[in-house]
């Protein structure tokens, strides 16, 4: 476990415990405490990673493998956006306001645990914690959709937990240890892979299910659609990415996919990634619910990351990490916008929406930025990460995958264009007539994230340097 980052785990946990007591009679204090905790973490992270001297030194002074730091930053960023958004979004008399924030903070802590741990069992524990908190968060509002989504989430990811634990058991048996390092050393040695690989494959399968990769994606649409609006953003933006996708990337580097070990697993992961891209994108085309479409889009985008992780070359890992971060930014924007739309117009059914751009210009334009980034339109950040992934695929001779992955961007663009047309452009519908722009605090996190999308795109060289450093460190 990376001790340097332990504080990022402990402080939210502490805050989570304090909130119910401190804010017992003053629900607003819960907002403030949660936001302050996350903001402080963000500020600290910025100081750690974005000092001019660090940037000038090409991030060589970053402690640890760099990936943890990056992901902790992403976690804090998304969580902060969501809590900030929630502070104005939550109903005034939501009885469990404190519990809501506590759960978020606990899940932040758990995610930090996931990204900083160096041991499979610990990883598993934190992932289970995440699952529990997510379950509760999804049902934050009392809608039946939320409960159904939560149940699906839990039931359908349950096999994942089982598979991971079986995998851990098998690995324990055959490897004699559960630390990442031991697996890395084992894979580096030229020993016959056998059971260890099989154990890793089982774990990989568990993570694939957690990440919602097709054909194990079935829980995502219902969970994201049914979830309480800001929670959808939180789940789609970061939670499932940390609990599933991060672990896949980690496992992929440990299994040394890049030098051809565990070829069968690598190939399967890539295939599933490609399959997700296709299935998610095609299924999104015909959705009529804004959030459900975003959920399918999420499946498709996760496919890109998984595809790259399955390839496992340094370039691919760079692309995967970058895309993970980008996905966090653009999917958060889109889900938060869907929350705004829901709050303002009262529905996320796209057939009932229309012409919202006049009343909600900010929401409309930030959506455009985010969707273009998702579709990989330059110079936004999504373009560069996809480009890296595709270059990596091409470099490894997987030209068919590269071409397919690239061309599915057009499907991505197509369904987002349709969404934009139905929701924001077009004729004003009855629902849109009486829907004013949401208040500035609700827009602030969205605008911040959109700015980040543009900035990451334009400041690609700096970010590339960082990701390169990460890839070099974790692949060594």
């Amino acid at each position: 476990m990376d001790k340097g980052l332990l504080a990022y785990l402990l402080i939210p946990l502490l805050s989570a415990v304090i909130i119910p007591f401190a804010a017992k009679n003053r629900p607003k204090l819960a907002d403030i405490l949660a936001n302050v905790t996350l903001l402080a973490g963000l500020a600290n992270l910025a100081w750690l990673a974005l000092r001019p001297s660090i940037i000038r030194g090409e991030f060589a002074d970053i402690p640890g493998d760099g990936l943890s730091l990056l992901l902790v930053a992403a976690i804090y960023l998304v969580a902060f956006c969501v809590t900030f958004f929630s502070a104005w979004f939550l109903d005034e008399h939501l009885p469990n306001r404190q519990a809501y924030y506590s759960l978020i903070l606990v899940s932040v802590a758990a995610m930090c645990g996931v990204v900083t741990t160096t041991d499979f069992f610990t990883l598993y524990v934190f992932i289970e914690v995440l699952a529990v908190t997510s379950f509760a968060l999804i049902t934050t509002d009392e809608s039946s959709g939320g409960i159904e989504g939560a149940l699906k989430y839990f039931f359908l990811t349950f096999p994942a937990s089982a598979l991971i634990i079986v995998g851990i058991a098998v690995m324990m048996m055959s490897l004699g240890g559960l630390s990442f390092e031991s697996l890395r050393i084992f894979m580096a040695a030229d020993a016959p892979a056998g059971t260890v690989t099989f154990a890793a494959a089982l774990m990989m399968l568990g993570f694939l299910i957690k990440a919602g990769v097709a054909p194990f994606h079935a829980w995502t649409p219902d969970a994201y659609q049914g979830a309480y609006a800001p929670v959808s953003a939180y789940l789609a933006g970061i939670v499932t990415k940390i609990s599933g996708v991060y672990a896949i990337i980690k496992l992929a580097t440990l299994l040394r996919f890049f030098d051809g070990r565990a070829q069968a697993v690598s190939e399967m992961v890539m295939f599933l990634g490609m399959f997700s891209i296709a299935l998610g994108a095609l299924a999104a085309l015909k959705q009529t619910n804004f959030k459900r479409m975003l959920a399918f889009s999420s499946i498709s985008q996760v496919g890109y990351i998984v595809l790259a992780a399955g390839l496992g070359t340094p370039l691919a890992i760079m692309g995967a990490v970058f895309h993970l971060l980008n996905h966090a930014t653009f999917k958060t924007v889109l889900f938060l916008n869907s929350a705004s739309v829901e709050k303002s117009a009262g529905t996320t059914d796209m057939d009932k929406l229309g012409g919202l751009e006049h009343s909600m210009p900010w929401t409309s334009w930030t959506s455009i930025v985010a969707l273009l980034s998702t579709a990989g339109v330059p110079p936004l950040s999504g373009f560069w990460s996809k480009l890296l992934i595709i270059l990596a695929l091409w470099e490894s001779g997987l030209k068919t995958y590269a071409v397919l992955a690239l061309l599915f961007s057009i499907v991505t663009l197509a369904y987002f264009m349709m969404m934009q047309k139905k929701v924001f452009f077009g004729k004003k519908t009855a629902a849109a007539e009486s829907s004013p722009e949401v208040s500035a605090p609700l827009l602030a996190p969205v605008v911040l994230m959109s700015a980040l999308i543009v900035a990451l795109g334009l400041l690609f060289p700096y970010f590339y340097t960082y990701v390169k450093m990460v890839a070099e460190r974790i692949i060594l």
Partner: protein, 162 residues
């Protein structure tokens, strides 16, 4: 070995049952039983902590949550029964999987058995399991906190609604 096999079969049966049960409640209970079976397998394979954790987390806490939540929406669910005739083919699929596994996986089981002996011979498993488990304690703490907040979050609301 028979014992192992029995447990594996049991786990499989519970899993299939969980999928095919008409009532979500039955599903949840079967899921818990599955967890229990898996825990027993862990115990038998010399991974007691994993077993404990699986039992406590999956079979215990989570199932409690589930049964609670499921019971809340049971009434609604039963109003719209699903046609699940086609899922009766599932046992067949499981059988196919078992046969396929019989052909594909024996090598794996053999290796696993040798691995176990090797680990047992070294006597390091317990050490490895417990000495390096401090982060897991953190995990347990987190899990407890999560459990508390979940209960705080979910249950008052549900009862209020009732």
């Amino acid at each position: 070995m028979t014992y192992h096999n029995l447990l594996f079969v049991l786990a499989a049966v519970f899993a299939v049952w969980a999928v095919m049960a008409k009532k979500l409640l039955t599903s949840a209970i079967m899921l818990a039983s599955l967890s229990a079976a898996v825990s027993l397998i862990f115990f038998d394979f010399g991974a007691p902590w994993a077993g404990v954790f699986e039992l406590s987390v999956c079979a215990g806490l989570i199932t409690v949550l589930f049964i609670g939540a499921v019971s809340l929406i049971r009434a609604e669910e039963e109003k719209h029964p699903e046609n699940r005739t086609r899922f009766y083919a599932l046992p067949l699929a499981v059988a196919i999987f078992a046969i396929a596994a019989w052909f594909y996986l024996p090598a794996f089981f053999d290796e696993l058995a040798t691995g176990r002996q090797m680990a047992a011979g070294g006597g390091t498993i317990g050490l490895a399991l417990w000495d390096l488990r401090r982060p897991d304690m953190l995990g347990q703490v987190l899990m407890l906190a999560a459990g508390v907040f979940v209960i705080k979050s979910v249950f008052p609301r549900r009862t209020e609604n009732k």
